[in-house]
Structure formats: C-alpha cells, structure tokens
C-alpha cells in the first residue's frame, strides 16, 4: 500500500502535473494519391509515475500514437512534449518494448539486457550489477547466459523488459508486449510487470487490445477508436495497489471491464450507442 501512496503522491506533486503532454496530435499516412488518417486528433496528459493504457481494437491508431511518443514516427499535426521538451526524434530517456522481444539471437540474455548500455556508450561495469538484479527480479536468475533460442516466449519478453529498464529511462513505452504470448503466460506477465513497477517506479504508456489487461495494470485507461480515430474515453481504474490476480475476480473489476467493452463497441457500432459514460469517467469526444 505504501508504494501505491508514494506513486499517487509523486503524480500530484509534479510541478505542472504531466510528464508526457500530447496536444492535438494527428497522423496521416500518404500512399500515392490516397491519404489514410491513422490518428485524427489526440490530446493526453500523463503524470509522473502514472500507468496509462491505450486501449482499442486493431487499427484504432493506438500503436501509431505510441510510436509518435517514442519519436519513431513524426506527427502530421500537433505536438508531443516529454519532460518539458518536444519529441522530435528518438531519445534516450525512453525505454521501449515491442510485441516481439526483438532480442539478438546470438547474444546471451545478459548481453541482450546490456545492449542499450553498449549503444548509449555508458560504462558497462556500472550497469552489470543492475542487469543481474533486473534479471533476478523477473525470475531469470540462472538464465543469464542462455541465448534467446533456449528461452520460452514469456522468458524472452522478460529479458526485453529488463533491457528496456537497464538505462533507467523516465518513461516506458510498451506496444502490445504480451499479445504474442499464450493466455496463461500473459496473466503471469501482467502480475510480474506490476511487481517490477513496484520496485522500479516508472511512468508507463501501455498499448493493448485486451480490456482485462488494461484494467488490471493501469491507473488510467484511455480508449481509442471512432472514425476518424481519437480518444473517446479516459477512465481512472479504482483498484488499490499493489494489485494481485485476485483483483480480477471482484465484481468491481468486472463492471469496469464491462463499461470499457461497451464504450469500444459503441464506437464501432456493435452495441447500442445510447450507452452512458460510467461515473468518474471523463468523455473527451
């Protein structure tokens, strides 16, 4: 409980309240003569220490928005600020995790975790201890010298999480990191991730199309969708931290998931559009 309080305290005491500031950001892809809008206009503030999920069906622009925050894609309109300075290109204060672990197959787990240190030309010996700690934290003690081919999908993704944390970035961007895993491993990874974040407190923006995953992990769930795509709901998750799997068995959790599902369905025309926003949620569009 102490950690949960610390996190919300940190979020409240940040000067202007936000670590990431996304203002009317849009992205349109041009292919030949046709223009395909991926994100029409999205505005979002993320406070320090907050865990925010971008939730929505495939093609709703959530991954595109994340890649723009990472500086890997350029917005066609609007602007993104990170720690008070605009995101114009990839930057070092970001840790990133993709759907695939994207490990170097010829390097050991430990070497893969240390990969950003080599690229960023930081002193390797100073981060060696941290790499071992991170691997132990995710339950991979003893697997340091195994190569990715000898690890399971879940283990590989744990290595990728360690790699994203090794250079102590301020913000963690996760693009559907567990969607390639089986359901059981995925549940384990969700619990593991929330445990990791209790130790290494980070601001996280997490892209997913799993409602339960978003609800379990997040402080806030931001639903994206609609045509053209934007943010249609921004909803705080009321569950106390630290969270364990039992949270998912509560009535409250089921109700929150239902509200999220109905919002998504309403936006995509699979449910009655008369659905009202749940209490405590602020409807953006």
């Amino acid at each position: 409980m102490a950690t949960a309080t610390a996190r919300t305290e940190a979020a409240r005491t940040t000067p202007d309240g936000s670590l990431v500031s996304i203002r009317s950001v849009g992205k349109t892809y041009f292919t030949g003569s046709s223009a395909i809008p991926a994100v029409a206009s999205a505005s979002l503030e993320v406070a320090r220490g907050e865990f925010v999920s971008l939730l929505g069906p495939s093609g709703c622009g959530k991954s595109t928005l994340l890649m723009m925050i990472a500086g890997l894609e350029k917005p066609t309109s609007g602007a993104i600020d990170l720690l008070g300075s605009p995101v114009l290109a990839p930057r070092r204060d970001i840790g990133i995790i993709f759907q695939d672990a994207t490990l170097l197959p010829w390097k050991s787990a430990l070497e893969n975790v240390l990969f950003p240190i080599r690229i960023l030309k930081l002193p390797l010996d100073r981060y060696m201890q941290r790499a071992h700690e991170l691997l132990a934290m995710v339950g991979l003690a003893g697997f340091e010298h195994k190569k990715p081919g000898e690890l399971s999908g879940g283990m590989r993704q744990r290595v990728a999480i360690c790699r994203s944390l090794i250079h102590d970035p301020d913000i963690l961007l996760m693009d559907e990191p567990f969607s390639a895993l089986d359901a059981i491993t995925r549940d384990q990874m969700n619990v593991a991730l929330s445990e990791i974040l209790e130790t290494y407190k980070k601001t996280v923006i997490f892209v997913t199309h799993s409602i339960r995953e978003a609800a379990f992990l997040s402080d806030r769930v931001v639903v994206m969708g609609g045509r053209p795509s934007g943010i249609i709901l921004d909803m705080p998750m009321p569950f106390p931290r630290p969270r364990r799997f039992e949270v998912e068995e509560t009535v409250e959790f089921t109700q929150v998931c239902r509200e999220l599902r109905l919002t998504i369905e309403a936006a995509h025309g699979h449910a009655p559009s008369t659905h009202a926003a749940p209490a405590g949620a602020s409807v953006i569009e």
Partner: protein, 274 residues
C-alpha cells in the same frame, strides 16, 4: 545370429534414441566411404583385368605411387595454385562485402549496380579469361584478377541478402536507442549477415580455384593447371591425374579453412549455445 539379435534387443531397451543417433552417425560416415572405396576397387579391377594402357586410364594404385614418389614436384606446382587461389578468394571476399555494403546503404548504387551484376552473371565468364591475359599480361596478376572476377559474385549476392534480412524490430529498437548507423552495422547487421556471408564464401572459394586453374591452362610457368596441360600434351596421363588429385586436396584444404573460420565465428555469433 541369435546372439546378435539378443544384443540388439538389449541396446534398444537401454536407450533407443541414443542407439539410433549413433547408428545414423556411423552410417553417414560408412556409406560415402564405402561407395568411394567401391568405385576405386572397381576402377582398379577394370584397369587390371581389361589391361587398359595407362595413357588412357592409369590405375588408382599407380597414381598413388606416383604422388608418393614425386611429391616434391607436385608440391612445387601446388604452392602457386593454392596461394593464387587464396589471394583471389580474399580479394573477392573484400570486393564482394564492399559492394554489398554499397548496395545495402545506397539506393542509387543498388539501382545502378544490381541489374548489371545479374547481367554479368549471365555471361559465361570463362570466355573472358583470354582477355585478362591481354589486359594484365601473363603473370600471376591476370590469373588472380580472373579468379576474383568469377568468385566475387556469390559473395555480393549472399552478403547483400544477409544485410537486408535483419530483423526489422531490432532495427527499430536501435533507432529508438539513437544508435548510429555504424553501431547498427557492427552490432546488428554484420553479425546477423555472417551465416549468409559464409555460405557465399564457400561458393567463392571453389570458384576462385577454378579461376586460377583456367588462368594456368591459358598461360603459366608453374601451377597444377599448368602441370595438367603440360602432362596431357605429352600423353602423360598418370601425371595429370596425380595433379588433379593434389588439386582436390588443395581445394579441400582451402574449403576447410573457410569451414574452420565459420566454426570460430559461430562460437560468437550463433543462436545455439556452445
């Protein structure tokens, strides 16, 4: 017979998988050796029984005897051929990798070079060998140049394929870490292209030897190719067969060196653990 069946059944009960593996391993050695031995014995028998003159076809035993007796002469001719092949191969490797880097990083180079390289490949390059003598003279330069000329192509193709087959996700990760192009090349592109490069090298080494031999056929004062042409002209079939055997050994040696280099590289850049 009953005893044999008994031991076999016993072995099966102990560990069928290990037994099958051992048997497969043994078979993969015994079968090719057995076939080679059978061909040699058949050859020897045919030559002896049918009384074939050694000008037409010398027997394996007489070739072996010649190699043992005149290894000094054979060695004198083997050295320039092997050295020129090795030099040709190394230059082809350097040129091939360099062109592959150019093709990978420059779109202009890719569009300009690639179709021409493929067109080049369609020329029966052996036909150009005499021209190399005109351009570069009768020394080893022309033979090495021709060897490079026919050996570099597989290196370019394989290496380019390797450089371009890099996991896009890893490239995106590098970009997110603000990696420089040089860092991406040394820590990602080159290591992941290594298996491709080695498969190109294995083709290139055999082509490099062919290039040198053809050069020696045309003009040379020494070398196994020269010895083969010289001996054949004098109807000394035994000598030319002996030269061919030594050539095979030199080829195996060079190929073996490439294979050893690959094994060493695999220790660092293989996805399998040691």
């Amino acid at each position: 017979m009953a005893a044999t069946i008994g031991t076999e059944t016993g072995a099966v009960l102990v560990n069928p998988a290990a037994r099958n593996r051992a048997a497969a391993g043994l078979r993969s050695i015994v079968l090719p050796l057995g076939l080679a031995l059978f061909v040699l014995v058949a050859w020897q028998t045919y030559v002896t029984v049918a009384n074939i003159p050694s000008v037409i076809l010398p027997s394996p035993i007489s070739i072996a005897k010649y190699i043992v007796a005149r290894y000094d002469i054979l060695l004198i001719h083997a050295i320039p051929t092997t050295v020129e092949s090795a030099v040709g191969f190394l230059l082809a490797l350097a040129l091939g990798v360099l062109l592959a880097i150019l093709i990978t990083y420059s779109e202009v180079a890719r569009e300009a070079l690639y179709p021409n390289l493929v067109f080049f490949q369609l020329i029966p390059k052996i036909a150009l060998a005499p021209l190399f003598i005109i351009w570069l003279g009768i020394g080893s330069t022309s033979r090495i140049a021709f060897s490079v000329f026919i050996a570099f192509f597989p290196v370019v193709i394989a290496t380019t394929a390797g450089f371009l087959s890099v996991d896009k996700g890893i490239l995106r990760l590098c970009r997110s870490l603000t990696a420089t192009e040089w860092q991406v090349f040394t820590s990602v592109r080159f290591p992941s292209a290594l298996p491709h490069i080695f498969s190109g090298m294995k083709i290139a080494i055999t082509l490099a030897i062919i290039g040198v031999i053809i050069g020696e056929f045309i003009t040379a004062q020494a070398g196994l190719g020269y010895l083969i042409i010289f001996a054949t002209a004098r109807a000394d079939t035994e000598v030319s067969m002996a030269a061919i055997v030594v050539l095979c050994i030199c080829g195996l040696l060079l190929y073996g060196l490439v294979a050893v280099a690959e094994m060493i590289a695999n220790r660092f850049y293989s996805a399998d653990s040691r």
